[in-house]
Amino acid sequence: MLQSSYTVYHALVGGILIGLASLLVVLATGKTPGISGMFSRILRPRPGDAAWRWVFFAGLIGGAAAAFAWIGSASLYRPVGSLPAFIGAGVLVGLGTRLGRGCTSGHGVCGIGLGSKSAVLATMIFMGAAMVTVFALRQSGLMSTP
């Protein structure tokens, strides 16, 4: 089923995998597993708290590589901006997720899954800001439609 071209089932199955992966992390570490939080604390490791993060991200890159190789639709990749735009966006994503204490996984999946009101609010804000940004870029012709 997943070998065919992209369908909503791919979205749903991928989402369930992400949810189960997050569940495994919280069971094994007791921490609410957001990607931005797990990654940022690699940059400033505390003794005994770094190895599991490296292992998790090694697995993440390996799992993505396997899916890119074996599932046709997964390797689809269409960048929407120039390289400098990705660098600028990367800085904003890093800065914003740590000030706001979470990203799409930490707030959007785990926080909402835990029933946290602040996570619902954060998700509404970053989704709204992202929608306004895309709208503005499209209107001004700075972002092409695939």
């Binding site: 990367g90 800085v91 904003l92 914003g96 899954g113 306004v132």
Partner: protein, 143 residues
């Protein structure tokens, strides 16, 4: 490798595979979801619709069965909410602008390292730099 690290390796692999299978590693699919006035692509809603209950219900079931204990001596987090403050609002807005600009959030950014896309190779160090700015300039992640 001990059992705990093995579980986390599997968790990472499932997470990365999930991001790729769900198409969240394709920037244009994500910006098409965000482009509500254009040719809207609802995929991201289905991804969250799969992920939130798989995590949330799974955690509720485990909590009931174990009384709040995880594996390897971990304690499961209670659902105490984070504070809603100016930092949460401002940070989330800044993150949203970067996300909309690139169609990439932290997970897919790191997953895309697997394909050696030049944008991903530039995005991840830039994201790390942004996180350092958040810590050094604004005291984020100090706790």
């Amino acid at each position: 490798m001990n059992a705990r690290l093995f579980v986390l390796l599997i968790a990472g692999a499932l997470f990365g595979a999930g991001l790729a299978v769900s198409g969240m590693t394709d920037p244009a699919r994500v910006t098409s979801f965000l482009d509500v006035t254009g040719k809207w692509d609802p995929s991201l809603m289905f991804v969250m619709g799969g992920a939130i209950p798989a995590f949330g219900l799974g955690l509720i079931i485990f909590r009931r069965r174990t009384g709040g204990l995880g594996w390897f001596g971990a304690r499961l987090p209670a659902s105490e909410p984070d504070p809603i403050d100016r930092r949460l609002v401002l940070g989330s807005a800044i993150f949203g602008i970067g996300w909309g600009w690139s169609g990439i959030c932290p997970g897919p950014g790191i997953a895309n390292l697997a394909a050696f896309h030049p944008e991903a190779l530039a995005f991840v160090p830039a994201m790390a730099a942004g996180m350092l700015i958040a810590r050094v300039g604004f005291g984020a992640d100090e706790s």
